[in-house]
Symmetry: C2
Subunit: 318 residues, 2 copies
């Protein structure tokens, strides 16, 4: 495939692996990049020295392009940016923060900059800030999410209409069918989180991977909206949040309930009841543990099949 | 186009106009059917004698197939079913109730029966009950909605995998792009509500149509979850619901706040502040008042364009 995104990153397939906390280290990023997609190291759950080690490791595991995902609101964002630059990583996906803060600096240093947004008005700000592309992420996505609850189906056609830079669709995407749908809606690529979180090269705990594979439709919910909305898989912790939110718990009460390091406990240490399990609605479609390379190939071949079927049914002379 | 749904209803385009309260009378249903889609009279806001009058009127306005949407939980559902049968209407879309209750009877009478569901497990029940097709409606849809909050992007691939009867996608669909996406996800047709609610032939109040046209992304929210979840456009009433829900209002308190006939007040009488304005997220993409026929033609021609573009970019030999 040859479009704006495959050219921007110099990759074979317009498939990007989302940078996820506790799931996406060097091993996963390199596996996705080796398979022809774009792998991202998720810096959100790494201390600076851990990030440095993962970048160094990733360079030994692949000679293909890879990037780093960095939440800008982290206290040590500047330190991490310096590491990313000094290691010669050329691609950065930023999130959770203002794209204005760092984009010009990163562009001056020769980086390709992508920012992640949950709504069109934020996408317009990204274009003004000078980013190269946008990830537009819908309500169905796992983990942290926007307050407006706009779904991928509604967000992608709107944002692609309002910005001129290329858009990468995220949220609810884990198959060739969804890739075809994303293209139809106007995106030039997809970012996939959940399906890679549950794959062999993910650094998530095996318990969590198994829980994703078993997850059924309706078992995730967007919660903690008074703090920062986050999509969680149902377990004892999520049920407690649900109960407290139903009776009008305040921000402080929710913060106390949440406590510290819940995501690590669930996703990395495998505590399925008390941990915070961040995953998308598309988990209901994930049914087996595969390698990242198998996932990329499956998605692409399913995409081609779907396209052929639609064209045949539409009886068009294309 | 020639697929299971166009054959089932004997229509030209796989575009179905959702049966909506206060919006879809004979005028709208006939206009959509005359344009080559399938129009539905929305019985949910009609007394039996009003429904009878609309069916009679619709027969004078079109010789194409049209149907009736009937919420099964209405107290007078049986009476309305008798009217539908005695008037010789051949297509019924049922919702808000158990598909087992009426499907066998309606099938014996020679009707084509479609049931509307917000989740895969309900779709499986529909197939067992013997319906001819399913409308699968995502979280982004306007009006009443499921508790599991599954979006169209996640619901359609899952439900089409689990049932063998054809699936009509609904929720977030108002354009040729979204139609192409729905096909990619595995649907055989789309049901469109919001865009037809705001069209010339809709019986909605002009104030409400104008409000839909002005609606921006993020201005609808799924509310009243302790009663029956419903997607509403923001106004004074919705803000009051939001405030009370944030502080843990009970079912009784919400019922009192809601009161009676709020939807009629907003959608039919045009009280934009105190009325209940049911509309989908896709309202952010609706920008002008058009006729139903213009909408059908626009959607179909955009669909063909989108398809051509994707095929070109994929460089496939189809």
């Amino acid at each position: 495939m040859n479009n704006k995104i495959t050219k921007l990153f110099n990759i074979k397939y317009p498939i990007i692996q989302g940078g996820m906390i506790w799931c996406s280290g060097a091993k996963l990023a390199a596996a996705v990049s080796n398979a022809g997609g774009l792998g991202l190291i998720g810096a959100g759950s790494m201390y600076s020295e851990v990030l440095l080690a993962h970048i160094k490791k990733c360079k030994t595991l692949t000679d293909k392009p890879f990037g780093v995902n960095l939440p800008l609101l982290m206290g040590d964002a500047e330190e991490k940016i310096n590491i990313i630059l000094s290691e010669g990583v050329k691609i950065i996906f930023t999130s959770a923060g203002n794209p204005k803060t760092w984009t010009s600096y990163l562009k001056e240093k020769g980086m390709t900059v992508v920012h992640i947004v949950p709504g069109t008005k934020y996408g317009i700000k990204c274009e003004v800030a000078g980013v190269d592309a946008i990830v537009a992420e819908g309500f169905e996505a796992g983990g942290h999410n926007g307050r407006e609850e706009t779904t991928t189906m509604c967000l992608i056609p709107k944002i692609t209409q309002e910005v001129s830079i290329p858009v990468i669709a995220a949220g609810g995407i884990g198959s060739g069918r969804a890739l075809a749908a994303a293209f139809a809606l106007g995106a030039e690529a997809v970012q996939i989180g959940s399906r890679f979180a549950a794959c062999k090269e993910s650094s998530a705990h095996e318990n969590f991977k198994q829980k994703i594979i078993e997850a059924k439709e309706g078992e995730t919910l967007l919660m903690l909206k008074k703090l920062a909305p986050v999509r969680l898989l149902s377990n004892e912790f999520a049920f407690e949040v649900y109960k407290q939110e139903s009776t009008g718990a305040s921000k402080d009460e929710l913060n106390e309930l949440l406590g510290k390091a819940r995501a690590k406990k669930g996703m990395f240490e495998g505590d399925l009841q008390e941990g915070e399990l961040e995953i998308g609605q598309v988990s209901s479609m994930i049914t087996k543990l595969e390698s990242a390379g198998e996932i990329v190939e499956e998605i692409w071949s399913e995409y081609m099949e779907v396209l052929k079927k639609i064209v045949l049914e539409s009886k068009t002379e294309l």
